[in-house]
């Protein structure tokens, strides 16, 4: 698929932003500035980037506990994200959601979700809205989930629903080989998870999830299908998380060094850089200027978050309902 220069710049900016956001966020977590558990997605930059490259704010994505990359690719503000992780009033959810619940409905981001598999039908619902309103051509639903989540029944229900109703959905399975410490070869009864798509009457495509160009191409077809009213597609993106399952997890306990090396050699950013510079699509200077601006953005984001106020205690009692006639306060 042809990619414009602007798009290439956007792709690099987005992947680099994800990479550096995760590294920065981890640093902050280790400094004790995050208020809870964080699940870094560095290494997995290509899938959200290559897919969201085809989306606008009117398209919707559902996400997971490992959701920062999806948020960034969907255009969320890293300042508000960092502030959310630090539990600040200026955070994306006012400090009430945290790392596992970042959402921005104005950007078509239905929220990170900490129940594995639970966000999958939400994207189907968003696609249902699009079909209902006759705007499939401008609003598709993308559900991001992992290899581990593929064992949840709700995925299969969602695939069946999307297929019989011909909804504009992309099932984007980021297979990073592990669910916590459990390898996919243990928990998944198929060589390729994408092979299950067949039984649900939709195309299933195995994609090199370390190569953003491959992801871009496969997603482009899937999104085009969806926009054309041809129904759902299943993409399995073979990828790898560079860090542990969560900030304090040491993946060396359950992954081998040669495997880690194998994926690092195929690093999505490095290989993108090589390709665009060797093919003279973007200059090394341009890439550097993108990196520089992101470095500054990260410094600013941390600064913004750290200097932001904590929410007032009253926030505890708001937003449970739009309106409710009983007090929400606990019995004290």
């Amino acid at each position: 698929m042809e990619i414009s220069k602007e798009k290439l710049e956007w792709i690099y900016t987005t992947m680099y932003r994800i990479r550096r956001f995760e590294e920065t966020m981890l640093e902050q977590t280790f400094k004790g500035n995050s208020m809870g558990v964080t699940h870094p997605s560095d290494g997995q930059e290509a899938p959200p980037t290559g897919i969201c490259a085809h989306l606008t704010d009117k398209d919707w994505i559902g996400s997971t506990h490992r959701g920062h990359g999806h948020c960034i690719a969907k255009g969320l503000d890293t300042h508000a994200m960092m502030a959310e992780i630090m539990g600040r009033a200026t955070g994306q959810c006012g400090g009430k959601g945290g790392s596992m619940h970042i959402a921005d409905f104005s950007k078509g981001m239905l929220g990170a979700n900490a129940i594995v598999g639970a966000s999958i039908p939400l994207a189907v619902g968003a696609a249902l809205t699009a079909k209902y309103k006759g705007i499939e051509n401008e609003s598709v639903g993308v559900s991001f989930f992992g290899d581990g989540a593929s064992s949840q029944g709700v995925l299969h229900e969602s695939m069946n629903l999307a297929s019989i109703w011909k909804l504009p959905v992309i099932f984007a399975c980021e297979n990073n080989g592990y669910a916590e410490a459990t390898p996919a070869w243990y928990s998944v009864s198929a060589d390729d998870i994408a092979s299950r798509a067949d039984g649900y009457g939709m195309p299933g495509v195995v994609v090199d999830g370390m190569d953003v160009f491959a992801v871009y191409d496969a997603a482009g077809e899937a999104v085009a299908r969806a926009r054309a009213g041809e129904g759902p597609t299943f993409l399995e993106l073979k990828t790898y998380r560079y860090h542990g399952h969560f900030h304090a997890d040491d993946p060396k306990k359950y992954r081998k060094a040669d495997e880690e090396e194998h994926y690092h050699e195929r690093d999505a950013l490095t290989n993108f850089e090589k390709r665009v510079t060797s093919q003279k699509l973007l200059s090394a200077k341009k890439l550097k200027s993108i990196r520089d601006s992101i470095e500054q953005e990260m410094l600013d984001a941390v600064e913004f978050a750290l200097s932001s106020p904590m929410p007032d205690v009253e926030a505890l009692y708001s937003d449970v309902y739009v309106n409710y006639s009983n007090p929400i306060l606990g019995l004290r």
Binding site: C93, G111, S119, L122, G125, Y324
Partner: protein, 356 residues
Amino acid sequence: MTTHNKINPLGPGYEGVTGKDLRFRDVFRDTLRAEMNRDQDVFLMGEDISGGFDRDTKEPLDAWGGPFAATKGLVQEFGPERIRDAPISEAGFVGAAVGAALTGLRPVVDLMYFDFVTVAYDQLLSNAAKSRYMFGGQTRVPMTLFARSGAGTGHAAQHSESFYSMLAHIPGLKVVVPSDPYSVKGLLAAAIRDDDPVFLVNDKKLINLTGFVPDEDYVIELGKGRYMQRGDDVTLVGMSYTSIVCEQAAAQLADAGIKADVIDMMSLSPFDEDILLESVQKTNNVVIVDEDTPRASMASEFAAVIADKAFDYLDAPVKRVTGPHSPVPYNKGLENAFMPQPEDVVGTVRNMLGRD
């Protein structure tokens, strides 16, 4: 057309309104129709609600009119996009409804039997009820779910539950329990128009009952109870079908010279604390009647609120009359023994007032 002259059951403002005696099931369907006409974003989803499809034309057949005929005729009127027949995938389609609600529609989900909510429990609790809060108030989940609860029809353990207390426990979710044609019209309309997720629990024993329904369009404010009748000696608190049980008990008590306030809670979350306290402050005696099993139930909740906030007015222990802590049995005799009967309520009141 008749004119309603009992004041209380319809609440203030309904003196002398015109209306008709209608069947619960018909009112339910007519209200769905009215709300779908009112708002193009309202659509219905559930198993068998378009009742099969013609093999050759692919047209919906409306063979059953949906579970309990709740949607009879609607698919012809609104088409299969708005009366969306779903496979047996409760978690999937409740989740899809949440997604649709988050993106601008107002889904109404027919879960058929109340018992099936357990299959979709996570979508309801973790997504529908929490999205607004955990995302810091940036969104809303305007969806309605309904399903049929209750014993009494020989459906046995897995089709007869009344565990609405578990739903009322969930922050972020609202729960309403109509008890007659009047209340189902007002509560269903209010639920569909509400911007929060609302679960309407519909006891099967109500479906074929007839009652007075005003002609006009109206909603019943969520969280409000009502008096079904007034009396000074004891407060009987009912919800869903047990409001009728309370009325029957009150009639028997009246024969013995005992006058009861009968309260129909109508909403369980939010619920009407004021009406409970007002009545108990007057009668000083209360019996809460609930078909749900007793432990950590709404009966417990009302008892706890009264024991806290009307403590000084109580002349006697707060009593609950509930189903046993057991699943629902199949055999009719056992099933009748499972459900609170008017006689159980009468016995409890007589004991309480020392009028054996």
